[in-house]
Symmetry: C2
Subunit: 133 residues, 2 copies
DNA sequence: CCTGTAAAATGTAATGATTACAAAAATATA
DNA sequence: TATATTTTTGTAATCATTACATTTTACAGG
Protein backbone atom coordinates (compact mmCIF):
# COMPACT_ATOMS: atom_id res chain seq x y z
CA UNK A 1 0.00 0.00 0.00
CA UNK A 2 2.95 2.23 0.77
CA UNK A 3 4.28 1.22 -2.61
CA UNK A 4 1.10 2.22 -4.41
CA UNK A 5 0.99 5.54 -2.61
CA UNK A 6 4.50 6.34 -3.76
CA UNK A 7 3.76 5.12 -7.26
CA UNK A 8 0.76 7.41 -7.63
CA UNK A 9 2.72 10.36 -6.24
CA UNK A 10 5.53 9.68 -8.68
CA UNK A 11 3.01 10.00 -11.45
CA UNK A 12 1.58 13.26 -10.13
CA UNK A 13 -1.60 11.70 -8.83
CA UNK A 14 -2.76 12.42 -5.32
CA UNK A 15 -3.16 9.08 -3.61
CA UNK A 16 -6.71 9.16 -2.31
CA UNK A 17 -8.07 6.03 -0.71
CA UNK A 18 -10.36 5.31 -3.64
CA UNK A 19 -7.60 5.73 -6.18
CA UNK A 20 -5.31 3.43 -4.28
CA UNK A 21 -8.05 0.84 -3.99
CA UNK A 22 -8.68 0.91 -7.74
CA UNK A 23 -5.00 0.69 -8.54
CA UNK A 24 -4.52 -2.15 -6.11
CA UNK A 25 -7.41 -4.04 -7.63
CA UNK A 26 -5.84 -3.78 -11.07
CA UNK A 27 -2.50 -4.80 -9.67
CA UNK A 28 -3.89 -7.90 -8.00
CA UNK A 29 -6.27 -8.87 -10.81
CA UNK A 30 -4.37 -9.18 -14.02
CA UNK A 31 -7.29 -10.59 -16.00
CA UNK A 32 -7.93 -7.17 -17.60
CA UNK A 33 -11.17 -6.32 -15.82
CA UNK A 34 -13.93 -4.14 -17.17
CA UNK A 35 -15.32 -1.16 -15.28
CA UNK A 36 -18.27 -3.35 -14.35
CA UNK A 37 -16.01 -5.99 -12.79
CA UNK A 38 -14.06 -3.43 -10.80
CA UNK A 39 -17.26 -1.87 -9.60
CA UNK A 40 -18.76 -5.19 -8.51
CA UNK A 41 -15.60 -6.18 -6.69
CA UNK A 42 -14.91 -2.93 -4.87
CA UNK A 43 -18.48 -2.06 -3.97
CA UNK A 44 -18.35 -4.63 -1.19
CA UNK A 45 -15.75 -2.66 0.74
CA UNK A 46 -16.51 0.80 -0.67
CA UNK A 47 -20.32 0.89 -0.58
CA UNK A 48 -20.62 4.45 -1.81
CA UNK A 49 -18.32 3.91 -4.78
CA UNK A 50 -19.83 5.06 -8.04
CA UNK A 51 -19.07 3.95 -11.57
CA UNK A 52 -18.38 7.51 -12.57
CA UNK A 53 -15.53 7.56 -10.10
CA UNK A 54 -14.09 4.43 -11.61
CA UNK A 55 -14.30 5.90 -15.11
CA UNK A 56 -12.73 9.13 -13.93
CA UNK A 57 -9.98 7.37 -12.07
CA UNK A 58 -9.11 4.97 -14.87
CA UNK A 59 -8.99 7.78 -17.40
CA UNK A 60 -6.73 9.67 -15.03
CA UNK A 61 -4.46 6.64 -14.72
CA UNK A 62 -4.37 6.25 -18.49
CA UNK A 63 -3.47 9.91 -19.00
CA UNK A 64 -0.65 9.53 -16.50
CA UNK A 65 0.57 6.29 -18.08
CA UNK A 66 -0.10 4.07 -15.11
CA UNK A 67 -2.70 1.98 -16.87
CA UNK A 68 -3.39 0.90 -20.41
CA UNK A 69 -6.75 0.75 -22.05
CA UNK A 70 -7.40 -2.27 -24.26
CA UNK A 71 -9.99 -1.68 -26.96
CA UNK A 72 -12.10 -4.66 -27.85
CA UNK A 73 -15.39 -5.00 -29.70
CA UNK A 74 -17.55 -4.46 -26.65
CA UNK A 75 -16.27 -2.97 -23.40
CA UNK A 76 -12.93 -1.48 -22.64
CA UNK A 77 -10.54 -3.48 -20.50
CA UNK A 78 -7.82 -2.10 -18.26
CA UNK A 79 -4.34 -3.38 -17.62
CA UNK A 80 -1.54 -2.19 -15.36
CA UNK A 81 1.39 -0.81 -17.34
CA UNK A 82 4.12 -3.42 -17.22
CA UNK A 83 6.59 -5.14 -19.54
CA UNK A 84 5.37 -5.13 -23.15
CA UNK A 85 3.21 -8.10 -24.02
CA UNK A 86 0.34 -9.04 -26.29
CA UNK A 87 -3.16 -10.39 -25.74
CA UNK A 88 -5.24 -13.23 -27.03
CA UNK A 89 -8.99 -12.82 -26.96
CA UNK A 90 -11.21 -15.87 -27.12
CA UNK A 91 -14.16 -14.78 -29.21
CA UNK A 92 -16.32 -17.51 -27.70
CA UNK A 93 -15.98 -16.86 -23.95
CA UNK A 94 -14.48 -13.33 -24.19
CA UNK A 95 -11.56 -14.19 -21.95
CA UNK A 96 -8.46 -12.11 -22.57
CA UNK A 97 -5.21 -14.00 -22.07
CA UNK A 98 -1.73 -12.54 -21.76
CA UNK A 99 0.72 -13.58 -24.45
CA UNK A 100 4.40 -13.33 -23.78
CA UNK A 101 5.54 -11.65 -26.97
CA UNK A 102 6.80 -8.13 -27.50
CA UNK A 103 4.99 -6.19 -30.24
CA UNK A 104 7.39 -5.25 -33.03
CA UNK A 105 8.79 -1.74 -33.30
CA UNK A 106 6.88 0.32 -35.85
CA UNK A 107 8.88 0.72 -39.06
CA UNK A 108 9.70 4.12 -40.48
CA UNK A 109 6.69 5.66 -42.16
CA UNK A 110 6.10 8.94 -43.93
CA UNK A 111 3.09 9.87 -41.81
CA UNK A 112 4.33 8.89 -38.38
CA UNK A 113 6.03 11.36 -36.12
CA UNK A 114 5.82 9.72 -32.74
CA UNK A 115 4.71 6.28 -31.55
CA UNK A 116 3.72 6.05 -27.94
CA UNK A 117 2.21 2.59 -27.69
CA UNK A 118 1.52 -0.64 -29.54
CA UNK A 119 -1.45 -2.94 -29.06
CA UNK A 120 -1.23 -6.46 -30.40
CA UNK A 121 -4.38 -8.55 -30.02
CA UNK A 122 -4.90 -12.04 -31.39
CA UNK A 123 -8.38 -13.40 -31.92
CA UNK A 124 -9.56 -16.98 -32.00
CA UNK A 125 -10.82 -19.77 -29.79
CA UNK A 126 -9.19 -20.84 -26.56
CA UNK A 127 -8.49 -24.45 -25.58
CA UNK A 128 -11.28 -24.61 -23.08
CA UNK A 129 -13.91 -23.46 -25.56
CA UNK A 130 -12.53 -25.66 -28.32
CA UNK A 131 -12.91 -28.72 -26.10
CA UNK A 132 -16.32 -27.70 -24.85
CA UNK A 133 -17.77 -28.39 -28.31
CA UNK B 1 -18.34 -4.99 -60.65
CA UNK B 2 -18.29 -8.42 -62.21
CA UNK B 3 -15.35 -9.13 -60.00
CA UNK B 4 -17.16 -8.10 -56.84
CA UNK B 5 -20.18 -10.17 -57.77
CA UNK B 6 -18.01 -13.25 -58.16
CA UNK B 7 -16.14 -12.47 -54.96
CA UNK B 8 -19.31 -12.28 -52.92
CA UNK B 9 -20.63 -15.49 -54.48
CA UNK B 10 -17.37 -17.25 -53.68
CA UNK B 11 -17.93 -16.31 -50.06
CA UNK B 12 -21.51 -17.58 -50.01
CA UNK B 13 -23.03 -14.13 -50.05
CA UNK B 14 -25.77 -13.31 -52.50
CA UNK B 15 -24.61 -10.27 -54.44
CA UNK B 16 -27.41 -7.78 -54.00
CA UNK B 17 -26.93 -4.32 -55.39
CA UNK B 18 -26.58 -2.79 -51.93
CA UNK B 19 -24.03 -5.35 -50.83
CA UNK B 20 -21.95 -4.80 -53.93
CA UNK B 21 -22.09 -1.06 -53.44
CA UNK B 22 -20.89 -1.35 -49.85
CA UNK B 23 -18.11 -3.73 -50.79
CA UNK B 24 -17.03 -1.51 -53.64
CA UNK B 25 -16.93 1.50 -51.38
CA UNK B 26 -14.61 -0.30 -48.98
CA UNK B 27 -12.49 -1.51 -51.86
CA UNK B 28 -12.10 1.98 -53.28
CA UNK B 29 -11.69 3.77 -49.95
CA UNK B 30 -8.90 2.20 -47.99
CA UNK B 31 -8.94 4.80 -45.23
CA UNK B 32 -10.86 2.41 -42.91
CA UNK B 33 -14.20 4.22 -42.92
CA UNK B 34 -16.73 4.17 -40.14
CA UNK B 35 -20.35 3.21 -40.65
CA UNK B 36 -21.17 6.89 -40.58
CA UNK B 37 -18.74 7.65 -43.40
CA UNK B 38 -20.05 4.83 -45.56
CA UNK B 39 -23.59 5.99 -44.96
CA UNK B 40 -22.84 9.58 -45.84
CA UNK B 41 -21.04 8.58 -49.01
CA UNK B 42 -23.51 6.04 -50.35
CA UNK B 43 -26.69 7.89 -49.41
CA UNK B 44 -26.14 10.18 -52.37
CA UNK B 45 -26.67 7.38 -54.86
CA UNK B 46 -28.78 5.06 -52.68
CA UNK B 47 -31.21 7.50 -51.08
CA UNK B 48 -33.19 4.86 -49.20
CA UNK B 49 -30.12 3.24 -47.70
CA UNK B 50 -30.38 2.80 -43.96
CA UNK B 51 -27.65 2.52 -41.39
CA UNK B 52 -29.10 -0.74 -40.17
CA UNK B 53 -28.42 -2.22 -43.59
CA UNK B 54 -24.83 -1.10 -43.43
CA UNK B 55 -24.40 -2.63 -40.01
CA UNK B 56 -26.05 -5.86 -41.16
CA UNK B 57 -24.00 -6.03 -44.31
CA UNK B 58 -20.68 -5.29 -42.65
CA UNK B 59 -21.33 -7.89 -39.97
CA UNK B 60 -22.18 -10.34 -42.72
CA UNK B 61 -18.94 -9.54 -44.52
CA UNK B 62 -16.98 -9.97 -41.31
CA UNK B 63 -18.58 -13.34 -40.60
CA UNK B 64 -17.68 -14.47 -44.11
CA UNK B 65 -14.13 -13.14 -43.81
CA UNK B 66 -14.40 -10.56 -46.53
CA UNK B 67 -13.88 -7.62 -44.23
CA UNK B 68 -12.04 -6.99 -40.98
CA UNK B 69 -13.34 -4.97 -38.09
CA UNK B 70 -10.81 -2.69 -36.40
CA UNK B 71 -11.62 -1.91 -32.79
CA UNK B 72 -10.60 1.52 -31.61
CA UNK B 73 -11.62 3.59 -28.62
CA UNK B 74 -14.64 5.12 -30.28
CA UNK B 75 -16.22 3.75 -33.45
CA UNK B 76 -15.46 0.58 -35.29
CA UNK B 77 -13.61 0.89 -38.58
CA UNK B 78 -13.79 -1.51 -41.50
CA UNK B 79 -11.09 -2.74 -43.79
CA UNK B 80 -11.12 -5.03 -46.80
CA UNK B 81 -9.33 -8.30 -46.09
CA UNK B 82 -5.99 -8.13 -47.87
CA UNK B 83 -2.33 -8.88 -47.21
CA UNK B 84 -1.52 -8.74 -43.49
CA UNK B 85 -0.55 -5.30 -42.29
CA UNK B 86 -0.72 -3.13 -39.20
CA UNK B 87 -2.25 0.25 -38.39
CA UNK B 88 -1.14 3.49 -36.85
CA UNK B 89 -3.76 5.64 -35.20
CA UNK B 90 -3.07 9.31 -34.64
CA UNK B 91 -4.70 10.08 -31.32
CA UNK B 92 -4.93 13.75 -32.19
CA UNK B 93 -6.78 13.70 -35.54
CA UNK B 94 -8.05 10.08 -35.34
CA UNK B 95 -6.66 9.21 -38.75
CA UNK B 96 -5.80 5.54 -39.19
CA UNK B 97 -2.78 4.90 -41.38
CA UNK B 98 -1.71 1.60 -42.91
CA UNK B 99 1.66 0.30 -41.79
CA UNK B 100 3.48 -2.17 -43.96
CA UNK B 101 4.50 -4.70 -41.34
CA UNK B 102 3.21 -8.21 -40.78
CA UNK B 103 2.02 -8.93 -37.25
CA UNK B 104 4.09 -11.68 -35.65
CA UNK B 105 2.79 -15.23 -35.40
CA UNK B 106 1.37 -15.95 -31.95
CA UNK B 107 3.76 -18.11 -29.91
CA UNK B 108 2.65 -21.40 -28.42
CA UNK B 109 0.51 -20.86 -25.38
CA UNK B 110 -1.23 -23.22 -22.99
CA UNK B 111 -4.62 -21.56 -23.36
CA UNK B 112 -4.72 -21.06 -27.12
CA UNK B 113 -6.23 -23.58 -29.43
CA UNK B 114 -6.78 -21.63 -32.61
CA UNK B 115 -5.75 -18.16 -33.77
CA UNK B 116 -7.77 -16.70 -36.57
CA UNK B 117 -6.55 -13.14 -36.72
CA UNK B 118 -4.06 -10.64 -35.35
CA UNK B 119 -4.62 -6.92 -34.88
CA UNK B 120 -1.60 -4.70 -34.43
CA UNK B 121 -2.35 -1.05 -33.75
CA UNK B 122 0.20 1.63 -32.94
CA UNK B 123 -0.84 4.81 -31.19
CA UNK B 124 0.80 8.20 -31.24
CA UNK B 125 0.87 11.46 -33.13
CA UNK B 126 1.16 11.76 -36.89
CA UNK B 127 3.53 14.11 -38.69
CA UNK B 128 0.81 16.50 -39.71
CA UNK B 129 -0.48 16.95 -36.17
CA UNK B 130 3.01 17.17 -34.73
CA UNK B 131 3.81 20.05 -37.09
CA UNK B 132 0.49 21.76 -36.52
CA UNK B 133 1.57 22.62 -32.94
C1' DC C 1 -9.72 23.33 16.46
C1' DC C 2 -12.57 26.26 13.00
C1' DT C 3 -13.20 27.94 8.36
C1' DG C 4 -12.74 28.53 3.61
C1' DT C 5 -11.01 26.66 -0.65
C1' DA C 6 -9.66 23.20 -3.79
C1' DA C 7 -9.86 18.46 -4.99
C1' DA C 8 -12.35 14.16 -5.16
C1' DA C 9 -16.40 11.50 -5.33
C1' DT C 10 -21.17 10.96 -6.37
C1' DG C 11 -25.84 10.60 -8.82
C1' DT C 12 -28.48 11.64 -12.53
C1' DA C 13 -29.12 12.80 -17.03
C1' DA C 14 -27.38 12.95 -21.71
C1' DT C 15 -24.87 11.03 -25.62
C1' DG C 16 -24.14 8.08 -29.20
C1' DA C 17 -22.85 3.69 -31.38
C1' DT C 18 -24.81 -0.61 -32.07
C1' DT C 19 -28.46 -4.06 -32.03
C1' DA C 20 -33.31 -6.00 -31.76
C1' DC C 21 -37.33 -6.39 -33.89
C1' DA C 22 -41.12 -6.18 -36.82
C1' DA C 23 -42.83 -4.51 -41.11
C1' DA C 24 -42.14 -3.45 -45.98
C1' DA C 25 -39.89 -4.22 -50.27
C1' DA C 26 -37.50 -6.95 -53.43
C1' DT C 27 -36.25 -11.24 -55.31
C1' DA C 28 -36.50 -16.08 -56.31
C1' DT C 29 -39.30 -20.21 -56.93
C1' DA C 30 -42.92 -23.05 -58.42
C1' DT D 1 -49.07 -15.02 -61.30
C1' DA D 2 -48.96 -16.55 -56.55
C1' DT D 3 -46.09 -17.75 -52.81
C1' DA D 4 -42.07 -18.27 -50.10
C1' DT D 5 -37.69 -16.48 -48.94
C1' DT D 6 -34.35 -12.99 -48.60
C1' DT D 7 -33.08 -8.30 -48.15
C1' DT D 8 -33.84 -3.79 -46.67
C1' DT D 9 -35.79 -0.42 -43.80
C1' DG D 10 -37.37 2.48 -39.66
C1' DT D 11 -38.07 2.78 -35.04
C1' DA D 12 -37.26 1.59 -30.59
C1' DA D 13 -34.28 -0.49 -27.20
C1' DT D 14 -29.76 -1.33 -25.16
C1' DC D 15 -25.80 -0.22 -22.97
C1' DA D 16 -21.13 1.70 -22.24
C1' DT D 17 -19.35 6.02 -21.52
C1' DT D 18 -19.36 10.95 -20.56
C1' DA D 19 -21.23 15.60 -19.02
C1' DC D 20 -22.53 18.14 -15.47
C1' DA D 21 -24.01 19.86 -11.19
C1' DT D 22 -23.89 18.74 -6.39
C1' DT D 23 -22.07 16.83 -2.30
C1' DT D 24 -18.39 15.21 0.33
C1' DT D 25 -13.73 15.11 1.70
C1' DA D 26 -9.08 16.84 2.48
C1' DC D 27 -6.22 20.44 3.70
C1' DA D 28 -3.99 25.14 4.47
C1' DG D 29 -4.10 29.30 7.22
C1' DG D 30 -5.75 31.64 10.83
Amino acid sequence: MERIQTLLRNHDIRPSYTRMAIYRYLDEHREHPTVEAIYDALSATLPTLSKTTIYNTLNLFVRHHLVKEIDLQDHKRYDIVRTPHAHFKCDVCDTLYDIDITPPIAPKHADISDVRDAQLVYHGTCKRCRQAV
